[in-house]
Symmetry: C2
Subunit: 200 residues, 2 copies
């Protein structure tokens, strides 16, 4: 049956429904909400989408998201640039920072190796990590990918790549419940995981 | 703790988080998704928000959403304009249409009376309904508000207002499970509810 909404409204519903985890009914509810917003708020919403895409890019050093030249962490002179924590996604940076104990810098892979999803070493930012390490100013690389099959495999793969440079490569301790997700680690668990890190 | 994302990205997260039913983590996930979209898709999303708001307005006859002059149902000469089904929200029009049995027209109130939420008769489109009925070409008004306290109260209030005009006012039968929501009625239930409607 044809929709009973105006085409431009259906288009908005389609756009919401295309987002991950948003079903048809939720998309409809969100579209109604957008219609009921004050003008300024709807414009701010549309502008936020375009603006984030225009401004946000990868930090040339650590590949984390930034809208400055370098990201805030790489720009800080209070961070130990010889200690690099490697995470899969930008959101994982926040998870490690929550320990309030970590004063090194990061490297964001933007993914993990996954034969199933056809993600190989050239599809994530491994080359950039090797280049950083090859410059010789890094003493330790902490692999903080998720403790699941793909995260472990990615950590092992990178560890093997980095060993020739004589850098210490460690892995977050399994304080994080296995099979779970870095994103949901609480502060204490993240702290234990950092403390118990061991060489791989 | 300050966010570790760039400000323009945080703004986008805030915009998603301001939508109903979207928590902080979901908003973050949606914002990442928007960043990973092809350019054209992100622009289409932003444009859909603005376009829907520019084009969509209330049909001058039935108050349903439309982006034409009158809505498709009010414009159709195959609909019985003397039979008016009163619903609370635009999405409820689709629920009634799903019965494939209804050939009258609609009136969309855009809300129900709710003392708790400070919604009074002047806050929803009751005046427009009374004006339609007072023109004298309507023989029956079917109250199809949700079968809950506010929906029932709204139906009774409107029935009392319309009685002086000598119009027949009916209520959808309780084929719809009480306490539930029109939006989730299946076709068969909606059909029974239409058939069993009774005068109030």
């Amino acid at each position: 049956m044809a929709s009973l909404f105006p085409p431009s409204f259906d288009t908005l519903i389609d756009q919401f429904a295309a987002l991950p985890g948003i079903g048809r009914k939720s998309a409809q509810r969100l579209a109604f909400h957008v219609l009921s917003m004050p003008d300024a708020q709807a414009e701010a919403f549309a502008e936020a989408i375009l603006d984030a895409r225009r401004r946000v890019h990868a930090c040339p050093v650590c590949q984390n998201l930034t809208d400055g030249e370098k990201c805030a962490i790489c720009s800080s002179d209070r961070r130990d640039a010889s200690l690099v924590c490697v995470v899969a996604e930008p959101r994982d940076v926040a998870s490690v920072e929550r320990s309030r104990e970590y004063n090194g810098v990061f490297h964001v892979l933007h993914g993990v190796l996954s034969p199933v999803n056809r993600v190989g070493p050239d599809d994530i930012r491994i080359r950039e990590l090797v280049a950083r390490v090859s410059e010789g100013n890094i003493r330790e690389v902490i692999m903080a990918t998720n403790p699941d099959t793909e995260g472990d495999a990615t950590a092992m793969y990178i560890a093997r790549l980095l060993k020739p440079f004589g850098v210490k490569v460690t892995r977050l301790a399994y304080g994080i419940p296995v099979g779970s997700n870095l994103e949901f680690a609480d502060d204490a668990t993240m702290l234990r995981a950092l403390d118990g890190r061991r060489e791989i």
